[in-house]
Each structure stands twice: as structure tokens, then as C-alpha cells.
């Protein structure tokens, strides 16, 4: 394994130690369990947003805890769910009486554990709502869109719901914003090299040079099929067409775009991709009002990229433009 780590089993805890040591002004751990992180100023009295999921996706999920974003996070092992207790503790620490939105990706382990956390929260009188990121169009056809998995596009929901909470919206309204954004977000990705779990040391798949995995998730899963590696422009077209179809984008529509690197793919390549996204959008008469290009949801050292599109209206755009400030993501 070409990794800079100590004992594989200590990887997650040592990473969290590093985060807490580096950003004590922005993040804190409310109890004894370092796997629960919240904003340093929690609870703020506003609606809390708790996310969570497996490790190995930085800046997802921990990186989106901050002003104008989420309020807390429950941290699992690499690609594994946090426990129900951890999800609950995060909720408890951020709740200032206005209730808590659980906002995370649609994965069995996470869903089962967050659902248990809802029961625990109820016992303590904490009101909760849940919104599930489920933006990966490759994972299920449109008819089964509620079963899709959540990938990088959840970033838009963090930004929008975070902004709604920050401006003082109530729990119902914040949850509705998250749902609305999720409903209008679609993502698809390709992989050029696998991921290696630190604890197992095994590559998640073998991919010969000159091939790519199409329709990958963010856990080193293979895609829905494999094909020859194409040019950047061909890849962009391949990723963009299903998103345009799924969101039913038509001339005159406005969108936000996220070109996300999976970990090992250089930022340069993401900009080469963005260039063609822009060209293709112009071609179909769709305006990009906001773009994010970089690493937003990774799979450790996987090479590849995903493209997410959020269909905008005035409300969504306004929320997206709101300032945000976490140790991993700043928007002014």
C-alpha cells in the first residue's frame, strides 16, 4: 500500500486527531467519542444539521461542518457507517431546541443507524427530520430514483440547507430545502483506478490501463460497466447526457455544476473537463450560474471524476450563493 499511515486500525482516529489539533477554533468534539464532531459554536439555537457516513471521502463529510453548512457529523470507519449512538450524540450536541435535520447519503448501513438515532433522539425530546442524498443516476433508473445512492451532489444540499438554517428557517423549512435540492440534483462519475482500504490492503478492482469504469460510486465500487478510456470531451459528454435527461434540462434553464475529483486525478484535468461542460451547456442553451471544481467527495486515492448538476431556480441559487466557512470549504 502506497499510504502514509501508521497502524491501519488507527487511521480514522489519528486523522480526526489531526483535524481537531489543526482546527480547534472551528471544530470540537462534544463528548468522549472523537467520532462525533460539531461546530465549535454548537449549539447555535438555529436548526441543527447532522451528517455522517464512512471515512475516506474528505472533504466529505467532516469537511462540511461549519457556518452556513452542517452543524455536526458522525464519523464511521473507512467506507463504514457511524453507529446509531454517534449519530444521536451529534444530534444532541447541536440541538439548541430548533430540532435537527439528518442529511446524509442513501446507504443501507447509514440509514439503519441514523434511523435508530431518531428513536434515541425522540426519547430525549429532540425533533428530527431526515433527507437522503440520492443523486447518482447510474445507480438506478429514474423510475427507482428513491433507491439511488448518494454521491458528490449532496454538497449542494449541504450548502442550501446550511444557508437556510443559518438564516433562521425552521426545521420543516430546512428539511424542505434539502429535499428540494436533492430532487433537482443528478451526478454521474467515472473511475480510472481503484481504491485501497487501509485495513485490508486490497485494491477495490483491477483496471487495465486504457480502460475506465463508468457509473462508479464513492467507495471504490466498480461502475455499472467498463469501457475503453475516452478523451476528456467524450467523457464529459458521456457523463452529462444522462444528467441533462434526468433533470429534463431545456433551453433557458439555469444550473450549478460540480466537477469533482475522486482523489488522485489532478485539478488540471478537472478544469479540462469543466471547459467542455461549459461548451456543452452553451450548446443546449443552459446557463451555468455557479461552478465548483475540485475535490468535494473522494474515494481515498482513487483516480476519476464525477459531474454533478443542480437545476436552479431563484431560491436555490440564492441559497447556494450564501457564505460558508469550514476548515475545508470557504465561500465568501
Amino acid at each position: 500500500m502506497r499510504k502514509i499511515i501508521n497502524q491501519p486500525n488507527d487511521f480514522v482516529d489519528e486523522m480526526i486527531d489531526g483535524i481537531l489539533l489543526a482546527h480547534p477554533d472551528k471544530l470540537k468534539t462534544p463528548g468522549d467519542d472523537k467520532r462525533v464532531l460539531v461546530r465549535a459554536d454548537a449549539p447555535t439555537g438555529k436548526v441543527g444539521i447532522v451528517t455522517g457516513g464512512g471515512s475516506g471521502h474528505l472533504p466529505l463529510f467532516k469537511g462540511y461542518v461549519g457556518k452556513g453548512l452542517c452543524s455536526g457529523v458522525a464519523v464511521g470507519n473507512v467506507f463504514s457507517s457511524p453507529s446509531a449512538q454517534q449519530c444521536f450524540e451529534a444530534a444532541k450536541a447541536v440541538d439548541g431546541g430548533a430540532g435537527v435535520l439528518f442529511l446524509y447519503g442513501n446507504y443501507g448501513g447509514d440509514v439503519f443507524n441514523f434511523d435508530l438515532a431518531i428513536d434515541l433522539a425522540e426519547l430525549e425530546g429532540i425533533e428530527t427530520r431526515t433527507a437522503l442524498g440520492r443523486d447518482d443516476v447510474a445507480s438506478q433508473p429514474n423510475e427507482r430514483k428513491l433507491d439511488r445512492r448518494g454521491v458528490a451532489g449532496i454538497f449542494f444540499a449541504f450548502k442550501g440547507a446550511g444557508a437556510a438554517a443559518e438564516r433562521g428557517d425552521g426545521l420543516e423549512a430546512v428539511a424542505a430545502v434539502a429535499e428540494d435540492i436533492i430532487e433537482h440534483t443528478a451526478t454521474m462519475g467515472i473511475g480510472l483506478s481503484p481504491t485501497i482500504l487501509p485495513t485490508t490492503g486490497k485494491a477495490s478492482f483491477d483496471l487495465p490501463e486504457g480502460e475506465m469504469e463508468i457509473g462508479i460510486g464513492i467507495h471504490g465500487e466498480t461502475g455499472i460497466h467498463r469501457g475503453p478510456l475516452e478523451t476528456a470531451d467524450q467523457i464529459v459528454e458521456r457523463l452529462m447526457a444522462p444528467l441533462v435527461a434526468d433533470l429534463v434540462l431545456v433551453r433557458g434553464d439555469r444550473i450549478a455544476v460540480l466537477v469533482n475529483g475522486m482523489g488522485a486525478t489532478p485539478l488540471e484535468e478537472l478544469y479540462v473537463m469543466y471547459r467542455h461542460v461549459h461548451q456543452q451547456a452553451a450548446l443546449i442553451g443552459v446557463t451555468i450560474e455557479k461552478s465548483y471544481i475540485g475535490e468535494y467527495a473522494t474515494s481515498l486515492e482513487m483516480a476519476g471524476a464525477s459531474l454533478s448538476i443542480l437545476k436552479l431556480n431563484d431560491e436555490r441559487l440564492e441559497l447556494l450563493k450564501a457564505p460558508a466557512d469550514s476548515p475545508f470549504f470557504v465561500e465568501v
Binding site: G108, G109, F112, N113, H219, E221
Partner: protein, 206 residues
Amino acid sequence: MDATGLSRAIRNTMVEIKQYADELRDLDTALGDGDLGITVSLGADAIVEALDAAGDDVPPEETIRTCAKAFANANPSTMAALVAGALLSGSRLWATSRNLTTVDASAFAKAAGDSISKRGKSVVGDKTILDALVPAGEALGTSSSASEALDRAITAAKRAIAETTSMQSRRGRASWLQERSIGLQDPGATAFLRFLESWKAANVAD
């Protein structure tokens, strides 16, 4: 089997099952995210530790609850959550039992399967652990000899895995592979088979 025997048998089985961690990792790598080997080996360690701490002669219901909690938290994941829920459901049936028969085991498996089905919104045929658990649980009740019942359960689980491998996964991470899941063996169902086999290997004298 009495209460102390149950706790011992589980611990023996947990030691045994860890040898399959790499196999489960590899199956879950192909069809999921590769963490099932970790879930099983960390979970097995956690159960052994928890039961060691609990001591002997604990009522079966409590033993199972201890297992559920240990397994749920060792490496939280789909399997951890489903199995923990299933164990809790099954344990209720044993609230008054001190001496367990194959009929008790079969009833436990039925309750466990119902729990997984409910929580996972899944049914037999979705190509999950249920496909092995349900027929194996039924087979358990077809003989009053513990070892014969176990053999029948193992046979049933094996057959189910062989049959479902050619099917498309309909639940969990594997379902996202869609057609590509066809031909790949379900890791969760395999984990359950390995559990039965480990029980047999570890508790041969029973």
C-alpha cells in the same frame, strides 16, 4: 443446549469464522465496498470480548443481546445493523428458554429473518443474506438432532447461494451494479453460510 453452552458455542464459532474474513472481503469487493471482512472479524472479536466479560450462566436472551450490541458497534455497517436487529428480535423468543432445541433455533431464525426483511425492506429473492437465512432456518426445524439439523441448514444455505448467484441483486450496495451483479455471489448470504459452518466446526462435540 443450556445457557452456558450457548455462550461457549458462540465464542467458539466467532473464533472460527474469522478465517473467512478474506473471502468475505473479496466477495464484498466485487459486489460492494469490501468492508464485510472487517465487519465480521471486528464483530467476532467484539462478541468474544463481550461474552468473556459477561461470564458463564447468563440467560440465553441476555447472551444474544450482548452479541447484538457488540456486533452493532464493532464496525457499524449494513450487515452489522441488520444482524444486530435480527438478534434482538430472535432473543425475545428465548426470554423464557434455558434449554434450547432445534425448534427454538428454527423459530429464532424465522424471527431474525422477519426483522431483516422489515428493516431492509427486502424479501427472499432479492439476493441478500435472507436467501440463505430463510431456507436454512426452516431446515433447522426438520430434525431434533442438533447436528443433523445443522447439516440440513448448511445444505439449504449452500443451495440458495448457488441459485441466487445467477440472479440480479435487488437490495443494498450490490443493487447499484444492476446487471453487472449477475454471476457474483452475495457476500452477506455467504457470511451466514460461513457462520453455520463455523458453528459446526467449532462445536463438533455438541
